[in-house]
Subunit: 377 residues, 4 copies
């Protein structure tokens, strides 16, 4: 499969360059009969738009999606669902000076090394704007997940060096995450991170951060051993997002310095006090008992299969590479040069990565849920 299609049964193909005529996606394999309308997609695209607050680009586009096919009478037809979003705010001239130089930290040079030439305007397809097609496709996947009572919730867990309290902490406030522009689920942390980021922007610099995600409501047993494990597919999906540099599940890297006796999540009968229940237990095969876990250090995944406990992972994002501070680079002719990147750019990618992380997770899950229909006779 060429590189722009994702999935096996429920697939998403995305297309579009930052400053070309349009971007979009084609979702194939979505079951027929799923209620879906333009607002389902538009809502997610709105979440992807720059939210202000100092972290975002000043490029403003309506990003109104048009459903071109696959939906009739408010329901999916079982045929491919194509979604189109026109580019309307291209200021290609902003990028003219970048035509013959390579921005450090961006894909410019390896892209030319691969293809021989590139659309330099806004990074072409290596722009963050590419994720628009992902978010549109993910919105369809989310609509499917709602039928299964599966929820995907992501948030900025750290930004500009400020770490917010996590789900186990009483200060963690899910509603707050969509309230502030950085999508940090704790107002005070959000304010401090905003300050840190403002200072970096002021100095012509940029900030990294992490996005965490929690998936709830998954039936146990989701995932395809051995190369389509749930964590493997999620990791592949997340590291396909620009600027992502790492991922960890559950206890993650800290598990690497732990010992078995504190990392294993003991198994107990469902309903045991203080235990984490395995969701979807009612759909278990005959003779398989329900279960719960005394902890969830595994992050809801064992042997690449969902356990039914919440799936938890965190993705590390590097700072936005476009900075106005001077950097060393070379020209297309091979000469050394100094570069300071202007234009409209985010300073910290995290808040806008949140809906992309959710979209990619939703695409993985929708696919696995359909595939799992063939697990047993």
């Amino acid at each position: 499969m060429a590189g722009n299609t994702f999935g096996t049964l429920f697939t998403a193909t995305t297309f579009g360059e930052s400053h070309g005529p349009a971007l979009g996606c084609v979702v194939d394999g979505c079951p027929a009969g799923l209620p879906l309308d333009q607002e389902d997609i538009e809502r997610e695209l709105r979440r992807r738009r720059p939210g202000g607050g100092g972290a975002g680009t000043t490029r403003r586009e309506a990003d109104t999606p048009e459903i071109l096919s696959g939906v009739y009478g408010g329901k999916t037809l079982g045929t491919p669902i194509a979604v189109l979003v026109r580019n309307t705010s291209q200021k290609s001239a902003d990028y003219e000076n970048l035509k013959d130089t390579y921005r450090p930290g961006h894909a410019d040079w390896p892209w030319e090394a691969k293809y021989g030439f590139r659309d330099h305007r806004g990074g072409g397809r290596s722009s963050g704007r590419e994720t628009l097609g992902r978010v549109a496709a993910g919105a369809v996947a989310k609509a499917l997940l709602r039928q299964y009572n599966v929820s995907v919730f992501a948030w900025t867990s750290s930004a500009g060096g400020i770490h917010a309290p996590g789900p186990g902490d009483p200060r963690f406030d899910r509603a707050e995450a969509e309230n502030n522009p950085l999508r940090i689920p704790h107002g005070e942390s959000a304010a401090r991170a905003a300050e840190a980021i403002a200072a970096l922007r002021e100095s012509g610099d940029s900030a990294g951060g992490t996005v965490s995600c929690m998936i709830e409501g998954l039936s146990p047993g989701l995932g395809m051993p051995v190369f389509g494990k749930l964590d493997g597919l999620l990791a592949g999906a997340m590291l396909s997002i620009g600027a992502a540099k790492g991922i960890e599940f559950g206890a993650g890297f800290s598990a690497a310095s732990g010992k078995g006796s504190d990392q294993n999540d003991g198994i107990v009968p469902p309903g045991t006090d203080g235990s984490v229940p395995a969701a979807g237990g009612s759909g278990l095969p005959p003779d398989v008992p329900g279960a719960a876990f005394i902890s969830n250090r595994a992050g809801g995944i064992l042997g690449g299969l969902s356990t039914g406990a919440p799936v938890e992972f965190t993705v590390a994002f590097k700072p936005i590479p476009s900075i106005s501070l001077p950097q060393k680079t070379i020209t297309r002719g091979g000469a050394p040069a100094d570069i300071a990147v202007g234009g409209r750019h985010d300073v910290c990618v995290c808040p806008r990565a949140v809906p992309v992380v959710e979209a990619m997770a939703a695409l993985v899950l929708a696919d696995l849920i359909l595939i799992s229909r063939s697990d047993r006779l």
Copy 2:
């Protein structure tokens, strides 16, 4: 694609349960004319065998591979290469007591939740022994990479809480990594980690650790935007390995708290003092200049494409979940139970994960190298 085939053009399909008759793989899409013999595969399988030193299982098998097809006269035919390894040391009786209980930290319960029943003997296909097919397939991929002067080198970078010096450190000793049973590239660290692990084994516990990997010699531009990015494919491959809980590339999670000015790797003309050269530069398209980098915080990947600098990543592995300390679990009938896992088990997965990490990386690279033949007209 079902879950046991990996890759697009250069594919590996693996099969086999821990205590079934055999394990193996079928490699398809390998170009014709590649020199390959049984020793190429056997050498890698030997590296996967328990190395002793306190970290390994005491199960001993010759694991002699048999090439069943695809090779004639010492060269690959262009047809599928099937490799078979018989199981000879099964002691299924060891596992009889586990038939009706679920081991915490293992896939036992979610596996039954998925399939309705399982081969409980040694974990069946969720056993670490499954990686044998991967390593055999990876050996074929490595033979292909040698033709391109691409090398894949992995080592245990931490184990039992002991961190070894990394590639930038003068104490880092590549040869040492294959000298000690933990595969730690620094003798003193290896000795300390061995002690820590011995103590854990003594107490009935187990240890986690990290495996790092460096890929050298890659041409720039390898990877398929947007869903087949080099880091995305590597992350998906690594997280498909049992017990892996996270991965980071280059500066990784530390980049998330950094700023753009220190994370971007400035670009300079090749040959600039102190710079990291982009390998394979001689194969660049016309009019694209050679490049080097003043640092390699990106870990050799930008925008999902290789930069030609060494690709560097680290995988976190949780402690082996089989421990002889008592743990809470439930029986197949749903009753609470205590369990202490005996049998032959590793204490720390890292040294044996090293060749698996290399194998999976080699599979990703072989596939991408073939695919990249179609990058340009």
Copy 3:
């Protein structure tokens, strides 16, 4: 892979219903640097439009394609090429009476049996209009084939029971095929077929026919044993076209009653008098001699691989099922009913199937040509 993506390395995903907002395609995996403009696509779409002459529908649409992505400065970028064609001439009201009845010979009933409901307007995605996306994608594939001097030429070889002379016959006139509305490469046969079809139309009936195709310039060795053979892929591609009921290669069904001594094509040195040369011989591997054939009953394919001789095949198409003669059917309520199908329909599918056959062949070939870059070290 879900059902609307075709190919492995060079892929085409199509979308769109007959009376929805738009149809189109996304071509992925096209090498960068290929000259491509809108006229390349528009030219093929024009060939697909109803040509008049009594065989075609009276639906008239400009079918102007818009390239949304993947092309910059007149060359392909290596990124997905999305092409959009708006529906502008929908007369959905024409189909209102078909909402609750199933047209015999159409997909109406099995479509509902599969998906539970359907877009009844013009057949929705089971309409012949669906092929528009294929033709647009095929136009990109054709542009790639031109770089390899590979040509794909299809024509109506029989229609309404009238068989035209074939390539071996001196009356066969390739230029004539694009001159008459039926695309029959022999003026006299075309006139007789037009008469036969006019009579059928008059009586409220429709006509079947065959489309033949010749591919010239292929290098020997194209095809992937064993499940991706050249003839296997072409057969799969052709039978995916609506109304196709059969295909034969070279001597085809007549070979089934022949004997080996007359079916085998003897091999001779290139340049032997009267022999069919194997094209692309200059690209042979070292030590493999050039070859020619004393005949081409194999239709240019042996063991699923191109021989370098012209690839020849014929596809059988059933009569257009939409006829105004009364037919038995049932309603959505299950009651028996009589139906006479009005609306704008072709009477014989062949002339409009010609560019679709070419498009599908081009997609198969473009994919195999890229894949074959990895045949040997």
Copy 4:
């Protein structure tokens, strides 16, 4: 996907050369819990063995399959099912004289043109013996189809120019097909065909023929529009069998000279006198009425979807190209030569193609049945 894996959810990967150590397959994606034992596979392999009667090779091998994985306690585990068959009767010396010449009608020359060299012994992987892996995989698919009451039945419908009566003819005798060595379902025709073939063998020549296939019990709606249509997938599967030169469904090529009014199968309520019922009607979605057809010229497929009526198709096979009559060829050095092919060969491929046609059909159906589980919410 490389060329030796077939299918999307239920996949078969085959391997092995005619004179290598072994052949076999890996079936992936088979649901867990399916009863399966070695006899299920051995039975089909026995049907593939030379049946004598003058049409078959004299090579005799036990072809005993060994299940290496994926089955435990007589049921499938949900893991890959690997099946191994050792080659035991290789007489490679028989082929020594063919090492440096190319047999007309075989893949020898294009194979070398592709890969640069080949395993000349018995045709290597281009041998008919390759189908052994397909038949073993098909046996697993058949076991799955039995759970759905779907049957696949193929027979020799013509051989050596003798056509046997078809299913509509009272002389058609299904049981007889497995009684005579040519698998012709009519004793008298079988005797006449045997005579014709014996005469051809006597004269050093070989015979072509056709294999027909009927699939019964399919639910309506099976198939994936638009590139995974039931007929498209079957055609691709059948033309991947060596020596196949064509396929037709239902009325097939004769439909091409027919008219709509006689080709459309009128639709009637189920139970209507003389009608062909649509199987599996009880599984229809809500509000979709049951249906029957007044005829089955469509061969059980409309718009690429099963109608529930029997699926009927016929595959044309060319004569076995190995003949002892002298033929023109060239040597590896490029010199003209005469060749007469000795060795152990079939004279007519049809009887042994019968189980291969069934196996490939079963693989297509098993895959589509699993995929169709995701047709609707």
